[in-house]
């Protein structure tokens, strides 16, 4: 059976792993801080010792987080959709639908034209723009 997954702080976790992870990190960091604070306080300068103890506690946090990182793997599925196989025009149409006409790249300054050409988008954008212009003309 799939473990129950929850969304906590904007990402997916397994609650059992979350409790385990927090127990490990808090269980490492808090005793590390308390013991260090006790030892430094016994050793003299209290204010400075307090700060050093904090540093030890932070190291404890990092160690605890790294241990839980090794024990509990991410609950994410990564898909790498290889470059969209659909027709270029369909993709551009979709973008235009949401954003509005992408315009005629021939109107652009030379630097931007070169950039669009280097991306291999130049002809596709010209075609799309012309198709749109014809369509508009047809409707009127």
């Amino acid at each position: 059976m799939m473990p129950q997954l929850l969304e906590v702080w904007n990402d997916t976790v397994d609650p059992k792993h979350l409790i385990g992870g927090i127990a490990i990190a808090v269980g490492t960091a808090v005793p590390a801080y308390l013991i260090a604070d006790h030892l430094f306080a016994a050793g003299g300068d209290e204010a400075l010792g307090h700060s050093y103890a904090l540093l030890v506690g932070i190291v404890g946090c990092i160690v605890g987080a790294v241990i839980s990182g090794f024990l509990f793997k991410p609950k994410r599925v990564i898909t790498t959709s290889a470059a969209d196989t659909r027709n270029r025009q369909e993709i551009i149409d979709e973008v235009v639908e949401e954003y509005g006409d992408l315009g005629d790249p021939r109107d652009l300054g030379p630097a931007v034209q070169a950039e669009v050409r280097a991306l291999g988008l130049f002809d596709a954008l010209v075609d799309n723009h012309e198709a749109r212009a014809r369509e508009k003309g047809g409707h009127q």
Partner: protein, 461 residues
Amino acid sequence: MTAELIEPVLWAVGMALLSGVLFTGIGLISGTDETAIVAPLALLVILIGVPPAGVLAFFLAAIISKHISHAVPTTLLGIPGDTTAVPMLREAQLLRSLGIPHIALQKAISGGVVSVAIAIPLSIVFALVLTPFAEAIGAAAPWIFIAAAVLVAYTSKGKLAAVAGLVPFVLLIVGLQAFIMEQKEATFTTSFFLGIATGPLIFDLFAALSPAGRRSMQQSGKREFNLAPDVRPAGGSRMPNPFKVLTGKQLAYTGGSAAITSATFVFSPVAMAVLMGEIVGSRVKNGYERLTTVITVRNGTTESTYIAETLIPLIAIGLPLSPMAAGPAGPLFNAPPVYTLDAEAGTTNNLHDLLTTGQFALFSVIAAIIAVAIAYPFVMTNAHRAATWVMKSVSHEAIIAGFAALICVICLYEGGLLALGVTLTVGLVGGLFNRFIGMHAGVQFMGYYVAVLTVPAILAL
């Protein structure tokens, strides 16, 4: 360079290196909100006794490098890297659909670098302009804070609800402070800050513990993330240059909006990023050029607002009078026992008093150069590999576990179990306000200052 400057410069260099590497990494993790992450770590650096030069360099390098690498999840995964990355999301997704996520990324981070170069000198100039008025501003601070709190609340998602929500929130803080005073004859600051900054996390942990809350958080399966394919042209690994990535028009618009947003330091960075993007977008006719220019300008604005909103109040006034200064940069103004802000006397002992304007300029430039030198080439050349590694290897459980432990340790350091109780109380209430009435952490930080500055002033009338 005089001999006394060598030590602080070394601190600045060292802390900027540390923070540049650390936050370039943290920026790759999506959803790592600036307030929740940068504020506690800056606080930590202050509390362990790093000198002022190191603290300033650490903080600036943190925000500069994070606002470069936050573009990686935003453009390659379509999930905002942090709060300020949200305004770039639409352009990022459209460019991703066009099959050119790498262009979105390169434009965004190049805009960031250009913006940093403009915002640092301009923020210092604007601070100098404001300095003569610092005393008057300081004297009026209690009333400025309440006005700012109302304004920030009204412009948040909660609108009037967030304004009204200030009343119970401020009373909660006043009440807790009174109890702490009675018990310990001292006041807490850090535990309130931590509670506000990590409120949504604390709220979620409580909700996950409750069977009723759990039902609404259930996920039907692992979450799917669609990583854009790596489409960079081969052989493009030479030293990247933002002046080549951006066109002249993009450089001009980014520079212009960085200059404007360096002056408008009292407004929310997200709002300014949205606004600058809209203004620039309305002036660019061609669709392709508009998409790439808007994403450049918006990411540039995330850098300039953060830098200006930190440096101007810090140099000119010493009071956290901007949404940024009250939030992520809060510890630079107020982190007792190291930096203090005396509410009644209106006096401060923080970076404002400990560094001269010349030193601010020097350490800011050091931090900016190091942060850009670390984050920019790294993101330019390794974005795809880094994003894949983070998504596949860094579990969210480990991040939450680390933060839970950090909260416990810092609270115990400030005031034992009572401080931990304060953080849990403020975090739970703040997180609830955040999630359900749209009153974000910035409003709550302003609420905190209303409680410690304005309430005593009202009672003294």
